[in-house]
Symmetry: C2
Subunit: 257 residues, 2 copies
C-alpha cells in the first residue's frame, strides 16, 4: 500500500547520482502526491533497473532527487508488439494503457481501409504509456511508434516476426466477395504449437468495422500470419487487443512461470 | 457492416408478434440511428433467440415493430460469474461493458475492506450491460446483482461453484502479517486441471489497494477457492478482471471450439 511512488525518467541512474525531474513530474510528485524533502521515491529509466531515491530539494518548478541503492536489476520484457487501428480517443487511450499493463514492448497505430480516425497524437500516447508503466511496476516503457498505413507496414515487415491476426469480422462479407477462408482457429489452439519455438510476435487488431475482405485475404495469404478467433461474441477492437495480449502472455509470454 | 441494429427487450418474441419499444429505445433507434418505417431490426429477449423484425410505426414516443422469422435459436452462455470490488465510475463501467463482451453470465459488485466506493448504481450498470450485449451479438444479458459485502457473499457461497481468486497484491504485507502463503500459480496452470471436470466458476477481483492480509488468508483457506496470478506486472483491477475472464473463456469457456 505505502510503497514509494515510481517515476520514469531518461537520465542515467546510479547510486549517489543526483537527478532533476521535469516540471510536469515535479508538479505531480510535490503537488498531487504532496511529497516533500526526504520522502522516498523509486526511479527507473528503462535501462538501469529500479533505484531507490529520496527528494533532496523542492523548488517551484523542479525537484532534485538523490539516487540510493539499486532495488531491482533491469530485466527484459517479453518481445511482443501490438499494431492497432486507432479508434476514438478514449478507446485508443485505453488500448495504450492496458497494453502497457499487459507488457507490450512496441505499440504502433496502423491505418486500415475502414479506420475512421486519421489523427493520432503519439506524444499523448507516450505520456499514457509512461504513467501506466510507472503504476504497473514495469522496468521499461513500451515504444510508441508513429502511425503508418497497414499496407506499407506489411510491405516492410520482417518475416522473422509472426503476426497474430485477430480475424474478428464475420465471414459474411468475405463470402460475398467470393473467397471465404473459413473461421480462424481459437487463439489458444493457434498459439500452442509455438510454445517450444523461439519466434518473435506481433498482434494485429483491426478497426471497429473490421478488415475489408481484401485486407483479410492479403493477411491470410502471408506465411508469417497466424489468424486467430477470440470466441463466438463480437468484441470491440480494444477488447480484442487486450484479450489477444492476455492470451499471448499466458501461452508464450512471461505469465507462464 | 450494414447488419441491422440489435435491440434487447423483455417482451415475448414470436413470428408475427407486434412489440413496442420503450421511449429510450425508440429514441435511440429513430433519432440516433435514424431508422424509419420498414427498416430491419434484430430483437432478442434472453429467452427466445434472435428474431428479425421491421419497424411498422414510428410515433413521437414509441416505435412498434413486427417480428419476422427467428434468425438464431437461444443458446446457453458459459456459466461464469464475476465478483468485483467497485472502482471509480469510469472503471466500474468498463468492467461491466467488457465482462459482457467477454461472456460473463452474472456480475456482482462486492465490498471488501479496502474498497473505496460504497455506492453502486446497478440500474446504470444494467443499461451498460444491455448496450454491450446488443453490440456483442450475445443472445442474453448478464444479470447484474445488487452489491453485497464480500464477507456475507462468501458466507452464503454454494461450494459447488469454485472461485478464481486473482491474488494480485504483492506478498509483502502478508509476510509482515506473519502468514505468507507464497505466490499463486499462473492462471493457465491453475485452470488446466479442471478442463475435464464439470465445475461452475466465479472470478473474484479485489479493489485497487488489493485484498487485506486477513481477506487473502480467509480466501486461501477455502477449499473451493483457486488462487491465481496474472503475470509479473501489477495490473489495475479492471485489467485483472478482463484478463481473468479472457483466460477462463479460453481454457474452460466457449472460446475453445
Amino acid at each position: 500500500m505505502a510503497t514509494p511512488p515510481r517515476v520514469y525518467l531518461e537520465a542515467d541512474l546510479s547510486e549517489g547520482a543526483r537527478v532533476d525531474l521535469s516540471e510536469d513530474q515535479s508538479h505531480y510528485l510535490t503537488q498531487v502526491l504532496r511529497k516533500k524533502a526526504d520522502d522516498p521515491v523509486r526511479l527507473f529509466n528503462g535501462r538501469s533497473g529500479e533505484y531507490g531515491a529520496s527528494i533532496v530539494e523542492v523548488k517551484k518548478r523542479h525537484t532534485t532527487l538523490l539516487c540510493g541503492a539499486q532495488l531491482r536489476p533491469q530485466s527484459a520484457s517479453p518481445d511482443i508488439h501490438l499494431l492497432f487501428a486507432p479508434l476514438k480517443r478514449q478507446r485508443t487511450d485505453m488500448i495504450v494503457e492496458k497494453a502497457t499493463e499487459l507488457g507490450a514492448a512496441h505499440i504502433q497505430p496502423v491505418f486500415t481501409a475502414r479506420t475512421n480516425s486519421d489523427h493520432v497524437r503519439t506524444d499523448r500516447l507516450r505520456a499514457i504509456a509512461v504513467e501506466a508503466a510507472e503504476q504497473t511496476e514495469r522496468l521499461d516503457v513500451p515504444v510508441i511508434e508513429e502511425p503508418e498505413p497497414l499496407q506499407s507496414r506489411l510491405f516492410r515487415w520482417p518475416e522473422s516476426r509472426r503476426i497474430i491476426f485477430a480475424d474478428e469480422s464475420g465471414d459474411d462479407d468475405s463470402r460475398a466477395w467470393g473467397g471465404d477462408p473459413g473461421r480462424a482457429p481459437p487463439v489458444a489452439a493457434a498459439l500452442q504449437p509455438f510454445t517450444s519455438q523461439d519466434v518473435k510476435w506481433a498482434i494485429l487488431i483491426g478497426p471497429e468495422g473490421g478488415f475489408t475482405p481484401e485486407e483479410r485475404m492479403h493477411l491470410r495469404g502471408l506465411l508469417h500470419v497466424t489468424p486467430i478467433s477470440l470466441g463466438p461474441r463480437i468484441l470491440r477492437a480494444e477488447t480484442a487487443a487486450l484479450a489477444a495480449l492476455t492470451i499471448w502472455q499466458s501461452i508464450l509470454g512471461d505469465w507462464r512461470t
